[in-house]
Amino acid sequence: MSEAPRTDLAYLPFERRIQEVEKQLAELEQISVRTKLDISSELEALRTKLQQTIGDTYRDLSAWERVCVARHDKRPIALDYIEKVCDEFIELHGDKVFADDKAIVTGLARLDTRRFLLVAHRKGRTTKERMAYNFGCAHPEGYRKALRKMRLAEKLHLPIVCLINTPGAYPGIGAEERGQAAAIAENILQMFSLKTPIVAVVIGEGGSGGALGIGVGDRVYMMEHSYYSVISPEGCAAILWKDGAKTPDAAEALKLTAPDLAAMGLIDGIIAEPAGGAHRAPMVAMQAVKRQILTALDELEALPVETLLHQRREKYRRAGALPGRFPVVT
């Protein structure tokens, strides 16, 4: 499956060469239309060059560049997965206590014949939408909504799929008043006891506790150009370097990329993205995520529930520790 490269993209700073070649290509295409000259071989050569340029540019991205890709305006977000990949989706709103936090969307979903509960951070496509969804920064009621729906999934014997894409949980007065920390803590704790498979995928930003609050899973995957971090690179630079300009250094130091985290054994796998990032071929990227989710669910649903829960706890209990590093209490 492939898609034509998109040309309506905002370019990231490191994509300058891609931008130049795409501009040349667009000009040549115009000339071809205007003059009706046969320049198909030149066009073909330029298209090949474009693919090479995209490949070269993305082959060895720095940590900070990956963070930029993870935050890209056109990167597929939860709404894209819901509208374009899910075969069915029934949104279920609200924590039934305080509010319906729009920064997290929950609902009953289907991929092919597979039914499950979807829990996802919600970002918008337009400025208006982004503001309405608070840029994917959830309040306590968002986490409580997620937990309530996850309990429903457990009861209905539906697996849970979490799509993570948040800069972090919202730091505000109301959030603190209503127990932001406690809401996240409760979710993390309860997710270790939910008797149903949980698959989590970081599709963009894995921002700290706000990500982990819906991020405990039997399988946790990261898309190739997503990131997952204890603190935002901006926050880390401000605190440790006391200099916002050091953000790229902080991103590097935090080892927050999918390859770094896979190498430390902290995630279960990386989902490859199309050349030039998910935003250049969203359907291809989303189909890869779908395949990984379905494969993981097949594996997990074959396990007895006791094994599933035991393995889930053990996985986090080991959490990247070097072999033999810690004693065992029996």
Binding site: Y11, A185, S208, I231, S232, G235, G244, A321
Partner: protein, 302 residues
């Protein structure tokens, strides 16, 4: 074009489980908390009411200001001395020390920071744990020590909390935790964030076995510690005036660009908002814990 990507955006809210922590030792939860160690000299100034206090008097009162009742942050060993029966502390896992897995280097390599802090504090990590007793009632105790890199939670702190929960489960003893922490230790990256999950996994197993846990939140407790084990014990206590929250006050103020209401994120505020069970003064902590342990006898007897 997307100008947002041109430069590291400066106006993005800062998000972190270790948020308030920062370089936890220094940054903790606002400038006010910078100095956790009492300055030397006979006299010192209360960091809350600015009263001049005679050092000996402060120490005798368990580091509580005689003028305004402000509860100063207590180093881990002093806490243990104050809470447990004399000579009852049987420390475990004291040899577990931090590793610099990321080779993290900002102004000082993390590895050097660890070494320096080890020699300064005489302990290998920010968490002290083991067996002990309170007025004769045997417990497993875990104490986060703010004087060790701001009580921040890295791999070893998370592991020791989990091991303490395991001890409580296997020995059928109540678990009592004291926290003071800036949150997750960012020098250990995702490994430190995942300690939030690791400790929760251990607590889930303790809960399943019917274990009983009490957490006492002391000044300051923020970030990934508040957002994990510290918030999900069976009973949550707090010391008066303790700063307790998810994000640090500076981060919140800079995100919402407003001044924070007086008393925001203090223990009394949390009590008012229904986030803690009870505020207990330091002088009454031992007797209150003893009573709560008696009420929990049924949980751990099985």
């Amino acid at each position: 074009m997307s100008p947002d990507f041109a430069q590291p955006p400066s106006d993005r809210p800062v998000h972190a489980a270790g948020e308030a922590a920062g370089d936890p030792a220094q940054e903790a939860a606002g400038a006010r908390w910078k100095k956790k160690e009492l300055p030397s000299g006979l006299w010192l100034k209360c960091e809350s009411c600015a009263a001049t206090i005679y050092r000996k008097e402060l120490e005798e009162k368990g580091r509580v200001c005689p003028a305004c009742d402000f509860h100063f942050t207590l180093p881990g060993r002093e806490r243990i001395k104050l809470v447990l029966d004399p000579e009852s502390f049987d420390e475990r896992f004291a040899d577990l020390g931090a590793m610099d897995r990321l080779r993290f280097n900002d102004s000082t390599p993390y590895a050097d920071k660890i070494k320096r802090t080890e020699s300064k504090t005489g302990q290998k990590e920010a968490l002290l744990c083991g067996f002990g007793s309170i007025e004769g009632r045997k417990i497993v105790i875990a104490v986060l020590d703010f004087s060790f890199l701001g009580g921040s939670m890295g791999e070893v702190v998370g592991e020791k909390i989990s091991l303490a929960a395991d001890l409580a489960r296997t020995h059928k003893l109540p678990l009592v935790i004291f926290t003071s922490s800036g949150g997750a230790r960012m020098h250990e990256g995702m490994l430190s964030l995942l300690q939030m999950a690791k400790t929760s996994a251990a607590l889930a197993s303790l809960n399943e076995a019917g274990g009983y846990s009490i957490c006492v939140l002391t000044n300051p407790t923020t970030g990934g510690v508040t957002a994990s084990f510290a918030s999900v014990c069976d009973v949550t206590l707090a010391e008066p005036g303790a700063l307790i929250g998810f994000a640090g006050p500076r981060v919140i103020a800079s995100t919402i660009k407003q001044e924070l209401p007086p008393g925001f994120q203090r223990a009394e505020f949390l009590l008012e908002k229904g986030q803690v069970d009870k505020i207990v003064r330091r002088s009454e902590m031992r007797s209150m814990l003893a009573k709560l342990l008696d009420f929990g006898a049924g949980a751990t007897a099985s």
